[in-house]
Symmetry: C2
Subunit: 166 residues, 2 copies
DNA sequence: GGGCAACTACTCGGATAACGATTGTCCGAGTAATCATGG
DNA sequence: CCATGATTACTCGGACAATCGTTATCCGAGTAGTTGCCC
């Protein structure tokens, strides 16, 4: 049970993109600089976010990324699933069907109780993540952070965002 | 976000061990035969369960494994943590402290909101697993399974368990 | 001076290596039953 | 016949490879801006 470190980076980047003006975009290089991470590797995660309908990419010079929906419409779960994949963490191989105690393959009409319990727990986990939106995170950040950090963050966005094409 | 396949095997084995008579043990070879898995690899997981205080091992001939506590005292969470490790799935590297927007290292007195949300979701996940005991799984199994499978299972245990030493 | 076309430079997207963790296996330390032996 | 001791065979425990996924990177396709040229 382990989440890739790309999840943290992805969430932070989505939160930054939530702060830029309507229609504007920000390129990979700027996001990588903001958090001092490898641009090449960050690009991989941003790609995944596009595939997961969390971000939209704009090609060419003055291109970059922007949110695919409003910050209130994107949940933590959307980001996590886009990066980690949509398959459940618990994979049942149905080993209960193996071995000498199973007469034939029709002996298990009901689903496996273990599988049910594991998937139920995972669904509550996902529900918890789905209840938190990017907007919530941004609001919390603005309410709890040092004013200097907020000011510098806004300044960074102003310097690195690409305005919407006319 | 992925759980190792050893989790499924471990839970099934613990459930089987819950079925043997008081004080009796069952060796790795029998458990491996029951589910048709590699004995060598299964041994690795059983070791982990001993380290996690879920099972007790008895060495020597007529040795094997038994539950460390009653089936109602062992939760799914105990098994999962023993196999997958106790560390949280979400690992926060605090990348928010990197980059040009951070004046100095004291700029973040409050904990990271993202980290809080991720860990909270994970705690609900663990709480859900902690609420399910091995006893629950065994009861569910006995109520929902084919009678032939139950009979063969009991027969298998009777043939392969090692009774408590006098 | 204005319009147009070719060029340039910068962007994302997919394909490609390197590392680490999980998977899978083996041999050694330890123990209880067994069997031979002696009383 | 019974107690005793060495032997034996079977168990778990820790150390050791192989495979797969994540990590990390690079180069190519495409596009908007730019520049130079022509009208």
């Amino acid at each position: 049970m382990k989440l890739g470190d790309g999840v943290e980076t992805a969430i932070h980047c989505v939160a930054v993109l939530a702060g830029l003006t309507d229609g504007a975009v920000m390129p990979t290089a700027a996001l990588a600089e903001h958090y001092d991470v490898s641009p090449s590797y960050l690009a991989k995660h941003l790609k995944a976010l596009v595939a997961g309908n969390v971000l939209i990419s704009v090609p060419g010079p003055t291109g970059g990324y922007q949110l695919a929906k409003g910050p209130a419409e994107i949940s933590l779960l959307d980001v996590v699933l886009a990066i980690e994949g949509r398959d459940p963490a618990f994979r049942c191989k149905d080993i209960r069907r193996n071995g000498p105690c199973v007469p034939d393959d029709s002996a298990f009409p009901k689903p496996c109780g273990i599988k049910k319990a594991m998937l139920k727990a995972e669904q509550t986990y996902r529900a918890e993540l789905a209840a938190v939106s990017i907007q919530d995170l941004v609001t919390d950040f603005q309410e709890t952070s040092d004013t200097r950090v907020i000011a510098r963050g806004e300044n960074f966005i102003a310097e690195n965002e690409r305005p919407k094409k006319l």
